[in-house]
Amino acid sequence: MNERNDLLVALAGQQNAGKSTLFNMLTGARQHVANYPGVTVDKKYGQYSDTEGVVRTVDLPGTYSLTSFSLEERVARDFLIQERPDVTINVVDGSNLHRSLHLTLQILEMELPVVLALNMMDVAEGRGLAIDQAALSTRLGLPVVRTVGRKGEGRAPLRTAIRALAAADKPQTTKFPVTYGPLEPDLVALTQAIQTTPELTGMPARWLALKLLECDAQAATWVRERLEPAQAEPLLEQAAALSATFERNNGLDVSDHLVSCRERAVSNLLDGVTTDPESGRPTLTDRIDRVLLNRLAAPAFLVLTVFLIYQIAIVWGYELTNYTWPILAKTRELIAGVLPEAGFLVDPYTRSMGLWLVDSANTLLNYVPIFLILFALIAMLEDSGYMARIAFILDKVLHRFGLHGQSTLPLILGGVFAGGCAVPGVMATKGIPDNRARMATILTVPFMNCLAKVPLYTLLLGIFFVEDKSLMMFYISTMTIIFALLVSKLLTKTVLRGEETSPFVMELPTYHLPTVSGVLRRAFERTWIYIKKVGTIVVAVAVVVFTLLQFPGVPEERMAEFEHRGEAAVVAFERAMAGNAYQRLATAEHIGPLVNYYNDYKRAKLNASGAEGSRAVNARFEQRNPEYYPLVSRPKGDKDARKANRYLRKLSSERKSIRREMKEERITNSLLGMIGRSMEPVTQFAGFDWKINVALLSSFAARESSVATLGVLFQQDEDQNASLEERMGAETMAGGATALLGTAIILFFALYPPCLATTVMVKVQTGSYKWMIFSIVFPTLLGLGVASAVYSIGLATGTSGIAMMSWTYFSALALLLILGFLGGRSGRNLRSTSVDSTETGEVRA
């Protein structure tokens, strides 16, 4: 220890005991806290300073014990053994002391200095449970501190206890070693063997001996790493022999024996320490569950919850965007004002690129209010304890298709019915203990209805399915989960076959009232992840797409033609203005700015709300340029101004149509256009022409780009009032497109690969580029296959788009039901088969 007296402190304890809460309380950090077992999966560092120095603090994942079976246990155990923290805070759930102390005894066996934090004491006391802290402390020989993490109680005493323990000169030895009855002689023998091996001195000998007797795989690895084989093997053989003899003589597994010895020890320890007058009486949680988990009522409550989330976050959230959108629009105007002014035919690159970026970002930022509400509601579900119940209710269905009860949270975040975002969804798969189900969840979350898919759906419905809008919307929003379950089943049976599985054994936490700060913090954090995605990946890709659309540009001789037409229009304007009172404005230096002024004015008027807003616009423009103003405001009685306005309108619309043609030419010639065209031979079977290909390509950046790109491809004049729907409809219909094409696009889009940000998250969560590439290639092929099949069959049989959609939907549903039913049958057969932990669980009927 150095003179500044810095410390390393670890927080260890069982799942959901409140470790992360206490960690946040001690360090002021913002670790994720949720009323759900197994939230923290990796260790997290933080620190605080007290008068003596810096205290580095580590939040460990929750573990029920310290074997090497699960990842969390390995993470926690490795840390405790290898880092040997100066102080370990063992966080225990005071309302569930008996079970918690099993872990405490194991930590003590590691010969670590321990402070016992009796957390959740509000719950314990509320239940009438009394704990004699002094007695507990004396019996265990440990400092015991009472804490209520949720209310921030116990920070100072905890910090004091940490310092006091660290300052104690003689290392703490527990007054409470567990004795292991008939195993004790073997244990002593092995402990001595370990103690006399110098290479193993750093290790707590008795603990290592226990682990070796338990035949713990990782403990054996440690021994092999530290010792020469000539030394290691005899030691391991000795342990194995002792353990085998014990099992033969006692008819009992060593691990089982250890657990039952600890169980006896805990019972003795607690005898007279706790009094629980109301033991056996139903708790508040029991009473709530009697209603919420009632066989008949449970599905209704679940549906109600999902509906409420949908209604509050999506429906009302959208209404909120009516208030936030003007802010974004105003920002765009501000930026547009700062950027160099538009040219007559060609705009400076800084302008067009700047506005492109702002538009791309704005489409995404528009969802921020929705996400804030959505994530706050989900955090409330998590923190209250209901999320764990949802997992309980849905596990059977999800499990049948290769998922897991705990896939619920990722699927909800991804947007099962309501709309969400796959990035936090994929992130939330961390806590799923079953690896195969976790992989299946990661790969299917992107099929959910991410909010960004909605604009394209809305657009397509507006073009092709005006009459069947609500039916199509129903199909789209329920189709995703059907597809996801089918895909998950498929993947589980094929590529994921070999992945490790583990059972669904989970504690149902007690209900807590969610804390305001916790919920808000969580909502802001997840929304921030989303905003970061907008700020980084989406903007970066927007630049790439912009560049691919700009180059190589309009060919020179065509450009000359356009310029010629532009000049002709200007000349015509000048000629018309001859003799007009405003003729002085029809000169080269004025015409450009005048046209821009005219367009800005029209757009401002269009966006202005009410007579009040309209007057404000007038005032602003009069102030901006009093000289030009009469030409746009057309004062009564000023005949010349009215005439000039008419000529100006003509000039402006001619300019627009030239610009539109130029843009179209530019995109047709552009690199992205070429790529889109080169894909036509493949995508023609799905009915996609190059424009749609380009849109779908750009939506890989972020789904919402698809609509933006389509907007560019089906260019509009700035003041043309035709919406994108009308333009695209007119153009594609003219090209012979039908609702069948709409269906093909929608199906493709529903199965479309995740956006770039999500694939990055897939890489993070699976830790492999292989899976990341798979998450792109597989859905692309699947989507293209389904879209092509539907389009080709529809075309061949002359079936309409909506009919093909219904066919697809009900075929998928039928397949789902058949698989679900068959899965059920084989599930029942499983009961009679033998069970062991490594079995993958796939026994054919």
Partner: protein, 84 residues
Amino acid sequence: MPKSPERPALTLNDIRPGRRARIRRHLARGAVRQRLMDLGLMPNVEVILVRSAPLGDPIELKLEATSLTLRRREASTIEIFDDE
């Protein structure tokens, strides 16, 4: 593992909601066995089968202060005493 002689032993999968049972032994091994024990499902411990999920699986158990849920598949590996 010695096989039970005549009829198959009762497991947690065989009792109805609301019933109590005392755990006899686990048939599962390795990680699953360890997890079940860690959660408090040790031999001789009394549990109550509180309910099964609306679709019949998984089930909820109560022992002392904790509620646990596990699938029927795992429940069928936990043998109970046939006392009642």
